[in-house]
């Protein structure tokens, strides 16, 4: 068993945005009893002792936590590399200055499209202008900036303009991540899944931009796994390199794993080190012993680890199956059918996106609206 390198600290699932591609859990009420500041401090200490070096502060919108600056400062004191993953709503200049002083290392800001009206429509709230302003503040205060865009059928044709925008705001890295179909995104899958022509056109643009901006901007492109021959090496292997702590203190190998029928493990009841080493949610799919064929006898089992357990469960109802994305999977037809539908002309009219009813409660102290 390895030590984890990274902690994904899901500070809250509250969020001012209502993106149709949201992959967070649907059962928001289960996460409303959020860890207190001291509990997060303890999580950070235990994570650091376990070998964690990077702390991704995410959600939901982490800026909705009033104690974010304290949490960052504590992580920084422990020597962790801190990365804020934010929609930028609530990233005011004074707050940014406090985070800078607390030692925050890196900021990642999402944007939904390059054009204000389109971005606001996908986010479900007027937010484009504030995001651009926040990107300016990030650069002005001397942080490295990553711009993140979740790609899907409704914005993937804009990749060239999205990259131009990232260049214009001075991003050091841009992540173009095709939608992963978990949580709310699963409900919108058929409306979000791009067609093959869209993907091919986007990839041409990405390759050319990468070449042109090699020394100035990293362009990370996450392919849509529905279109690949082999599954993604999900999380670098189950409970191998990363761990997630959810807003209520549940510990998971990845945020989507809350959907699996595995017993809960919580930092409120057990030490993190014991959970990492022994709890069923961590050991269920660690290594390769759990694998059925075709994975068990496959040369790639140490390369892709059988793909994503959550996707296997979502599509087949059995988390031990080979990820159906793999062309060798006996269930591959489930993916092939969705891809075929996305490529039939009769569907080109495009289904509507169902926005996530996901507003931060009005009582939230840091409500940014």
């Amino acid at each position: 068993m390895d030590s984890p390198f990274g902690l994904l600290a899901e500070l809250t699932y509250r969020c001012p945005l209502a993106c149709a591609y949201c992959s967070n859990p649907l059962n928001m009420a289960d996460y409303s009893d959020e860890l207190a500041t001291d509990e997060w401090r303890q999580v950070l200490v235990e994570a650091s002792d376990l070998g964690v070096l990077q702390c991704h502060l995410s959600g939901g919108e982490p800026l909705l936590r009033r104690d974010l600056v304290e949490i960052v400062a504590h992580a920084n004191d422990l020597g962790l590399y801190t990365n804020l993953v934010t929609s930028a709503l609530g990233f005011s200049r004074p707050r940014a200055e406090q985070l800078r002083a607390a030692g925050l290392d890196h900021v990642q800001i999402s944007i939904q499209a390059d054009e204000p009206a389109v971005s606001d429509r996908i986010a479900g709230i007027p937010s484009y202008r504030r995001k651009i302003e926040a990107m300016g503040v990030v650069k002005e205060l001397g942080w490295p900036l990553t711009v993140n865009v979740v790609l899907h059928r409704h914005n993937i044709d804009r990749v060239a303009d999205l990259l131009a925008l990232a260049e214009e705001v001075g991003a050091d890295r841009v992540e173009l991540a095709n939608t992963q179909y978990y949580g709310w995104a699963w409900r919108n899958r058929d409306a979000l899944l791009p067609n093959r022509a869209q993907l091919e056109a986007a990839e041409v643009v990405v390759r050319a931009t990468r070449e042109r901006l090699r020394d100035r901007m990293d362009v990370i492109y996450v392919i849509p796994d529905y279109y690949s021959r082999y599954p993604k090496p999900c999380m670098g292997g189950w409970a191998s390199r990363m761990l997630t702590v959810t807003p209520n203190g549940d510990v998971l190998p990845c945020p989507a794993a809350q959907s699996l029928p595995l017993p809960r493990a919580s930092v409120r009841t057990d030490p993190l080190a014991r959970i990492w080493a022994e709890s069923p949610v961590m050991t269920a799919f660690r290594g390769t012993d759990w694998m059925p064929d075709p994975c068990r006898s496959c040369d790639r089992r140490e390369l892709d680890f059988g793909g994503c357990r959550c996707q296997a469960f979502q599509l087949t109802g059995d988390a031990t199956r080979t990820d159906p994305v793999c062309h060798l999977s006996p269930d591959h037809d489930l993916v092939a059918r969705a891809v075929e539908e996305a490529n039939t002309n009769s569907r080109a009219g495009d289904l509507p996106l169902i926005p996530r009813p996901h507003r931060a409660p009005a009582s939230s102290p840091d409500n940014t609206r």
Partner: protein, 98 residues
């Protein structure tokens, strides 16, 4: 840099420094030096860590090689440059001209 060059070349007069979004740290758990990047980690061996500790934007590559020569028996200049070139390609190290 000329966009037509295939990869950045590190010369002996360059003064390398860590990019501002990376951090060099020591992992107590692993007893190893690690280079931290927003999304990735690079586990370093002892000489790699020694090289990067000297990447402060003041030492030239020649000076780094000389410094390491005092600690290790042999430090081939081209090996240090290859190591740094790989990290420049991954945008972990930046070069200031000599």
């Amino acid at each position: 840099m000329d966009p037509t060059t295939t990869r950045p070349r590190v010369s002996t007069s360059d003064r390398p420094r860590l990019a501002r979004h990376v951090r060099l740290t020591f992992s107590r758990t692993r007893q190893q030096h690690i280079l931290l990047h927003p999304e990735t980690v690079v586990v370093l061996n002892a000489s790699g860590a020694d090289i990067l500790e000297l990447c402060d934007g003041r030492h030239t590559v020649t000076e780094i090689v000389a410094e390491l020569g005092a600690r290790y028996q042999t430090v081939p200049d081209d090996e240090v440059r290859r190591f740094l070139t790989r990290l420049v390609t991954r945008r972990c190290v930046e070069l200031a001209d000599g």
